[in-house]
Assembly symmetry: C2
Homo-oligomer: 156 residues x 2
Amino acid sequence: MSSTAPAKTPRASAAETIDAGFLESLVGYNTRRAMLMITPNFMQRMAVYELGMADFSVLSLIKHNPGITSRQLCTALSILPPNLVGLISTLDKRSLIERRPHPRDGRAMGLHLRPAGQKLMRDAERTVLELEQLSTANLSPAEQKTLIRLLQKIYA
Amino acid sequence: MSSTAPAKTPRASAAETIDAGFLESLVGYNTRRAMLMITPNFMQRMAVYELGMADFSVLSLIKHNPGITSRQLCTALSILPPNLVGLISTLDKRSLIERRPHPRDGRAMGLHLRPAGQKLMRDAERTVLELEQLSTANLSPAEQKTLIRLLQKIYA
DNA sequence: TATTGTTATACTCTATAACTATA
DNA sequence: TATAGTTATAGAGTATAACAATA
């Protein structure tokens, strides 16, 4: 097992005997730690598409809700309108989405995926599902379903 | 265009019928949404102590691990050393913590709560436990325990 | 040579105020 | 008057490079 000589310094164990018991009893702390585990993997695997988490969420909602407005995206994703402008603008410049005049509201723009966005999201969603498998490797399918259900009971 | 609407409510409810089914099937998305629900409540209730989430986590680990070093805090909480400096400095200026020379490492400083920090954390931890009750109001005690266990299986 | 703590810095994310054009 | 989208801006949060003191 350990080919190294037995360590005599107690310093090595001191670093591992941190008592985080109180924090680990809190839903908020554990939720944050789980996010810290998932986020870098997401960023790394989505880098090839040049999509961040917000970009992917926005594109996913546009894909499954053609004609959705910026205002609806903000409400659904808890993004403030000023912070969505840059995201939409970038996706538009990349020709991934298209802004069409809203049929019944002259102020709003209906958002749609362009062909490049359709193709990108087909690949990106597949990659996200692969990432989901890796993130939940320690969970059974039932546990994964339970985890999602309980998280939704927190925020729904 | 079939935007002619002789009917009363053809797609009038479209604003509320956003399909987020794909996102809601992802652990990462649901974890993030749960965080977005918990974080503002935490900030609001901890504002009276002038403590953010990182401050509270740091103070909690110092409280339960007297003499812990900055390096250990960084490892335990996934905080980068340059970003911890300001936190520790502020807590020190507020006389909540004390930096003592480390007994066996001249480079490091052992961190301890000062009396004001002890008192503050007694109140703050009680407040956090109250917040925990509110955040998990829709969960049974068993569900709360299960949620924490499953989250830990994600990041542990 | 490696590690602890630190400074400087930059980039991202998030938040608020105010403007425009439409409703 | 209220709302959708936008601009400008400020504040957190988080990232890397480099340095001095110590191991």
